[in-house]
């Protein structure tokens, strides 16, 4: 009986030991392995369909952090450590040098990996329609961290804008654990896709965002929409420059908003109007490819594991977007830069031959700028990816990969040895009760395992120390090289900025001179600015377009804001100062999340007839309206669409 109990006890202990050993052996707990596929699905078969009327606009602008101003370094490093994604970083870690190095490396790697996305999108989209907008991290007037573009790319109307960067957890001792990381063969991309508010009014133009950045991206989209609204309402130049969403996140910390309309990437709620929330992904790339990185710039594992999926998602968004609606106000903004009279006529949607002809010249000018900036983007790509900088980055990434492999080896060793120690100790304890059982237990274990038990105990302690050190050691050792690398990139991009700015200024000067020498006067006498009203707004708004007796009458664009900050915008036909006829309207109640969009027929300022309705968190619907009231479903074939 005693023997049976002992045997049972031994069995249980062995089971327990196995239960401890097996996960450790198989899972390498504490070692981030990453995923080898992104939730962003690859699809090479999707072809972009650009049916917009304008040939001037770009399809995608990629914004990313490229360099940092010396003045901004300390503030950025501090803010970076304080707003970690995936955990809280202790204050003593935040002030460590290697935390700064992580922040530095994020800039260098974002600068490098953004080129992969650029290359893939450029390969898939029409010529000169993908532009790069590298940003410099700087301080704003309040000495807070922000960013500004280096090139003039963002002055070109674009259907979509992509914010991209990679991320590393600021605490090197935790870098292999659960929080997101970017290390060696593992990359954590952060990704935001946004557009002009008019493309998706219900989300202020925000289409997709990495989950941690959703709050910052949402706020920035709202700020951008409001700034553009203000400039048109008060008739002053729109000089708002959206910083990188990631920088705003770092500056302001997390902005948890429970009421934001969100949906998962590629989920079943595809038609619902909401921001696609892209989860944090640790993308594990092919190790052999990473090891071979220094050999050639043509080796790009990031393409296969993330970029193709991201590019397919962007192409999908392009195909689902109304390009003219997306770029209408960006085009107006671009025109206002060099021809305010034409910009007003454009906003008024004047159709006369004099406006059409002048617009054709102006769009050719913007198209030429796009071509020039596309050449600049290509030279940034060549210098960053193909050139010396890219080669050095590949060496660093490959070196990181080797460090990571060493770390993994140690982690595996740690896990195995810990497991063996546990198993051996279990045997030892049991051995104290029954020598027979002990012998049996020991007999079930191999001699090597028993001999290794003592070794294991120590090894488990030792590996946990040394593996944590590796990341710190690597960052410490690489610091001068990283510094140099960033400085060199800084020098290169600054010089490039100077060269290209000079080149662009010369170019713009020549093209504007040519433009001014060729344009003819606009003969429309009906275009002007006058009053615009809405029954629900007590204040008087502004109308750009046809006017009669001082109020809106005819084609044009109007906007109003009331004392509570609620806003209304309308593009289309008007009569007696109010929306009347076919048009599109955005109504935003400042107390609510997201705006409502109406497109179709209007009368006396309100939706009246068959109207397309878009609201946050709901599917677009076609409804019958009477004097602003929704009275039921409507026949989609009766809908009169607005032509932007």
């Amino acid at each position: 009986m005693n023997s049976k109990v002992s045997k049972l006890s031994l069995f249980v202990r062995l089971i327990l030991a196995a239960a401890i050993v097996m996960p450790l052996l198989s899972g390498c707990a504490g070692t981030a392995t990453g995923k080898d596929t992104s939730v962003l699905r690859k699809d090479d078969s999707i072809v972009v369909e650009d049916v917009s009327r304008s040939t001037a606009d770009a399809l995608v602008v990629i914004r990313y952090p490229a360099i940092i101003d010396v003045e901004a370094e300390r503030v950025f490093y501090h803010a970076y450590g304080a707003t970690a994604i995936g955990g809280q970083v202790p204050i003593e870690v935040q002030i460590r040098k290697d935390t700064d190095r992580i922040a530095q490396s994020v800039i260098a790697k974002s600068n490098y990996f953004a080129m992969s996305l650029f290359y893939e999108l450029r390969r898939r989209l029409p010529e000169n329609t993908v532009l790069l907008s590298p940003h410099m991290i700087v301080l704003n007037e309040q000495d807070e961290v922000t960013s500004r573009p280096i090139l003039a790319t963002e002055e070109i109307p674009s259907v979509l804008t992509v914010d991209f960067n990679v991320y590393s957890y600021p605490d090197t001792s935790k870098i292999m654990d659960a929080p997101p990381l970017t290390f060696g063969d593992i990359v954590t991309p952060l990704f935001v896709v946004h557009s002009n508010r008019w493309l998706r009014p219900a989300t202020h133009g925000l289409l997709l965002s990495s989950q941690p950045l959703v709050g910052a991206a949402w706020q920035q989209s709202l700020d951008q929409a409001q700034a553009q609204f203000d400039s048109r309402l008060k008739t002053f130049p729109d000089d708002y420059q959206r910083p990188l969403d990631f920088l705003t996140f770092v500056r302001d910390g997390k902005r948890p908003r429970a009421d934001l309309p969100l949906k998962s990437v590629g989920g079943s709620r595809r038609d619902v109007i909401a921001v696609e929330s892209y989860p944090i992904e640790k993308i594990r790339m092919d190790g052999e490819m990473i090891a071979g990185l220094p050999d050639s710039y043509a080796i790009d594992p990031f393409i296969e594991y993330f970029v193709k999926g991201a590019a397919a998602r962007v192409v999908n968004s392009l195909n689902r977007a109304d390009h003219d609606r997306a770029t209408f106000f960006a085009r107006q903004h671009a025109l206002a830069r060099f021809d305010p009279e034409l910009a007003n006529a454009f906003l008024a949607r004047a159709t006369s031959e004099s406006v059409r002809a002048r617009l054709q010249l102006a769009e050719a000018l913007i198209e030429a700028e796009r071509k020039f900036l596309s050449a600049q983007s290509m030279s940034v790509y060549d210098g960053t990816f193909v050139g010396d900088y890219g080669q050095k980055m590949r060496k660093m990434i490959a070196a990181e990969y080797r460090m990571l492999e060493e770390r993994r080896r140690l982690a595996r060793l740690q896990n195995i040895t810990t497991a063996l120690a546990v198993a051996a100790l279990a045997g030892s304890v049991y051995g104290a009760a029954s020598s027979t059982a002990t012998a049996a237990a020991i007999g079930n274990l191999t001699g090597v395992m028993v001999i290794g038990a003592g070794w294991a105990i120590h090894k488990s302690i030792k590996t946990s120390r040394s593996s944590a050190k590796i990341t710190e050691n690597f960052m410490a050792q690489m610091a001068p090289a990283l510094d140099r690398q960033i400085n060199v990139q800084m020098e290169w991009l600054e010089s490039k900025e100077q060269i290209t700015a000079l080149g662009f200024a010369e170019f713009r000067n020549k093209t504007l001179t040519l433009y001014q020498s060729r344009v003819r006067s606009i003969t429309d006498r009906n275009i002007g600015q006058c009053d615009f009203f809405h029954p629900d707004f007590e204040s008087t708004g502004k109308w750009y377009g046809g006017c009669s007796a001082g109020v809106a009458n005819g084609r044009g664009y109007g906007l109003i804001r009331d004392e509570f900050g609620d806003t209304l915008e309308f593009v289309g036909l008007s009569a007696d100062g109010r929306a009347s006829g076919t048009g599109a309207m955005i109504v935003w109640n400042s107390a609510q999340t997201g705006a409502r969009y109406f497109e179709g027929e209007f009368r006396q300022g309100k939706p009246h007839g068959v109207v397309l309705l878009e609201e946050p968190g709901k599917r677009p619907r076609i409804r019958e309206f009477r004097a602003g009231a929704d009275v039921g479903s409507a026949n989609p074939e009766m809908l009169q669409r607005m032509s932007f």
């Binding site: 031959e353 059409r356 002809a357 054709q360 010249l361 050719a364 000018l365 030429a368 071509k371 020039f372 050449a375 030279s379 060549d382 210098g383 050139g387 010396d388 050095k392 060496k395 660093m396 070196a399 080797r402 460090m403 060493e406 140690l410 030892s428 051995g431 104290a432 029954s434 020598s435 002990t438 028993v450 001999i451 290794g452 038990a453 003592g454 070794w455 105990i457 120590h458 090894k459 030792k462 040394s466 050691n473 690597f474 050792q477 690489m478 090289a481 140099r484 690398q485 290169w492 010089s495 490039k496 060269i499 080149g503 170019f507 020549k510 093209t511 040519l514 433009y515 060729r518 003819r520």
Partner: protein, 266 residues
């Protein structure tokens, strides 16, 4: 498709000599009776292409209502007989409005009736003679068409036949289309000049950046990078080895403990 078009030969020759269309149109009407599209095929491809293109540009955008008015206005014409050389003389430009309008009406109608055939011929010529057609200056054709269209529009304007509101609107549209033709011509010139500036700027920028890139590549050596990578790897190796000896000692201690434990039980 045996449409008549012989008039175009004489008409286009007159244009080639920079005559005004008023004279050319006056010539066109008496020739209409013996026209067909095949006749123009005897011309060299470039000339055939030029004449047909010109016809389409002149007649472009005209509607049946305007054609009917123009035809009615030119019904009672007395067609002057002109020699080819006469077209270059100032006197030849003074012709009666009615004969010009009648010629224009026939041209509009002809262009509309044979629009598809003419477009097909133009395409065939372009496919068969790509180099030749690539050298055709569309702006020269546009300039000629603008002169002709303005002459027709003025003739309508000065016609004594009563004009309805509809006719006035059609005439305004015709004039706007002529302005559009002028604007398109100017756009082509603008675009050409703009492309030259853009290409030059891109080449210039590329040259400057390439020079900087070369300088940059030469200046920055690989040694620091290699040293740092090597140092980082070396430190890891040392870290690993430092614990090796002590670990072995601990293992031995543990093994001794195990042996001791087993011996105590017995």
């Amino acid at each position: 498709m045996r449409a008549k078009l012989n008039f175009l030969t004489a008409f286009a020759s007159a244009l080639a000599m920079w005559l005004t269309l008023s004279a050319a149109l006056s010539l066109m009407a008496p020739l209409m009776a013996s026209l067909d599209l095949d006749a123009i095929k005897d011309l060299p491809p470039g000339e055939e292409y030029r004449q047909l293109s010109l016809l389409m540009l002149v007649a472009g955008g005209t509607r049946p209502e305007l054609t009917a008015f123009v035809e009615a206005a030119g019904q009672n014409t007395q067609i002057p007989v002109l020699e080819l050389d006469d077209y270059q003389k100032p006197l030849a430009r003074i012709v009666d409005q009615d004969s010009m309008l009648l010629g224009a009406a026939q041209m509009f109608r002809f262009a509309r009736q044979h629009e598809q055939d003419i477009k097909l011929i133009l395409t065939q010529i372009a496919v068969a003679n790509p180099i030749l057609i690539s050298m055709v200056d569309v702006n020269v054709l546009a300039e000629e068409a603008i002169v002709i269209r303005n002459a027709i529009a003025d003739s309508i304007e000065y016609s004594e036949l009563e004009k309805t509101d509809r006719t006035q609107a059609e005439l305004a549209t015709f004039r706007i289309q002529t302005v559009r033709l002028r604007n398109l011509m100017e756009y082509n010139i603008f675009r050409r000049d703009l492309a030259a500036i853009t290409d030059e700027a891109i080449v210039d920028l590329g040259g400057r950046l390439d020079a900087y890139q070369r300088m940059f590549d030469e200046e920055i050596g690989d040694s620091m990078m290699e040293q740092r990578i090597s140092a980082a790897e070396s430190m890891n190796t040392q870290t690993d080895k430092r614990f090796e000896e002590r670990a072995r000692a601990r293992t031995n201690e543990l093994l001794l403990m195990l042996i001791l434990m087993e011996s105590q039980v017995d």
